[in-house]
Symmetry: C2
Subunit: 335 residues, 2 copies
């Protein structure tokens, strides 16, 4: 930096000012400095800057290891968050949280990251408590039971379930099943998406005077198959199913067929918090409500950066609905 300063005939401080653009510098001086930087191939040292400014411009994305297999949506969080961070001049480090309420401390008081994004949030998430009590700037992708005190971006599960039910009731369906992931006995038992969707479903079904049946699905296609059997046993007259577990989509459809039901003639199926790709891996192609994975990652980072830079302490609460993609798996209810 000193070399650049010498070459431009200015002081090292002035170089710093033009690099950071946070102080007024005459156009002329700026030009000379810029030229000198280019000629010397100067690169601002991120670490020194971080030490002096007490801001690393690094964001940490905390993700759970073990416990819970991450899916396509998680991947989208990673990539979209990293990309958005990059655009805003930040870096995203992946922080594997092996145990719950992990050493977030090391992260922040260690000075590595300026802020944190947490994902896979449960209704009573110890990590959120910890981050709050440590006063770490953070944004959650997902939300706890009472999220009023935190900043978050999340899928609007309540609305998504409503949309799915609107679609199905619009087709005349009155007996509807909901397939959610089986998380009993794991630390993810109160996983937000599952709990919220199930609650929204039960409430809405009651409000609408429908017959609703909730079944849990284990892992993979086999889980879906069992869920189908379970559903048909508990409500043989069911005419529609909403499923929120992509890797069981195929199994559900297959299980419904094994139970003697045609899809969609006898039973309509709609996958929520899903994607076109997941829906296409089934015959017929599934009607889906697509998860806004990329938006969530992007917005989480934007919100965090704003908090970091704007210094605003106010909490942002953003809910995004899933987008409906119509396909062949939903049809009017049988007479």
């Amino acid at each position: 930096m000193q070399q650049v300063a010498d070459r431009a005939g200015v002081s090292i401080a002035t170089v710093s000012f033009v690099v950071n653009g946070n102080k007024r510098v005459s156009a002329d001086t700026r030009a000379r400095v810029t030229a000198a930087m280019r000629e010397l191939g100067y690169r601002n040292n991120v670490v020194a800057r971080a030490l002096a400014s007490r801001r690393t411009r690094i964001l940490a994305l905390v993700f759970p290891v073990l416990e819970h297999r991450l899916g396509q949506t998680a991947l989208q969080f990673f990539t979209s968050a990293a990309s958005r961070a990059s655009e805003l001049g930040y870096h995203l480090v992946l922080w594997p949280a092996v145990t719950t309420a992990d050493d977030v401390q090391e992260l922040i008081s260690g000075g590595l990251a300026d802020g944190v994004v947490v994902m896979e949030v449960t209704m009573h998430d110890p990590r959120i408590d910890r981050l709050t009590e440590l006063e770490v700037p953070f944004v959650a992708i997902g939300r706890t039971a009472d999220p009023s005190a935190i900043s978050f971006v999340d899928i609007d599960f309540e609305r998504t379930v409503e949309d799915a039910l609107d679609h199905l009731t619009g087709l005349g369906h009155r007996r509807i099943g909901l397939v959610v992931e089986d998380l009993d006995g794991t630390t993810m038992a109160d996983y937000g998406p599952k709990v919220r969707s199930e609650a929204a479903f039960r409430a809405s079904v009651a409000r609408r005077g429908l017959t609703g049946t909730v079944v849990a699905a284990g892992a993979s296609a086999e889980g879906g198959r069992r869920a189908a059997a379970d559903l048909l046993e508990r409500d043989p007259d069911v005419t529609a199913a909403i499923i929120m577990k992509d890797d069981s989509n195929f199994g559900l459809v297959s299980g419904l067929r094994a139970g003697g039901r045609r899809v969609p003639e006898d039973v309509s199926v709609i996958a929520i918090v899903s994607s076109d790709g997941a829906g296409a891996a089934t015959e017929p192609v599934l009607t889906t409500l697509n998860a806004p994975g990329p938006e969530l990652g992007r917005l989480a980072v934007e919100s965090l950066v704003e908090r970091l830079e704007g210094g605003s302490t106010e909490r942002t609460h953003t809910l995004i609905p899933c987008a409906l993609h119509l396909a062949g798996s939903t049809a009017p209810a049988p007479a």
Copy 2:
């Protein structure tokens, strides 16, 4: 740190020594320092340490944005690399490379990362050239056409194809198709996995005196369906297919059926560089050769860290085979 030193009755330098453990300190002093650290809740500042030691202990994982949808295997790279890095006392930052041959410069001369992991490598990858010429310590997940000069970990595609062919020929198959991703016209046209598998297939089929047909599949299930039609048209007597594109698995099977073939009675199907989960989303469950995603991420990081710490300039070349998982989609060739 000064406070810790005071409390332990030693100098700040001594504290540094015990923190880093790279210099001999008497057991007694060490104990006092450790106690003082705990009592004061001392956390070593990562940034200051990085500035002074000129090593950030940060690794960058460069991933492509746009161009190429990342899949489950990429997710595994992210998480396993991050976890392994963490275990080794490093951090992993996600580096989105928007354009090819991106500003890797900023990364290293900017001083943020000590080393780089590149993924989604093509046979002639400009990023590899750039990293090499900049003398950046890096490890590739994947390899270029001539990888002798670089360190890499990769799937052993040649062996994987051999394994698939061994399995199929063992069942009596002589006319075999290979379905690979259609990448023509994209910057990923010479994507390593595709090019290597296709080449290995052609070579091995010739060597074994079999009839091999290679078809390209577009995106999603529909791509698989078209590939099936294409394959059946080009070799109506084909009795087995190897597919290396998970999101087309379902379409392929479905397309084979649409073409009047039963799976596996008429045509056996085996998915390579796949996973149990992907294989289960089809009826019958697919026989798969599972990609060692987690191992690759882990090994890449280990190799890079060893290079960084051991100072050894020698290149490591690691090839890992896929693991065979037998299921219902492969059967003896029809008479």
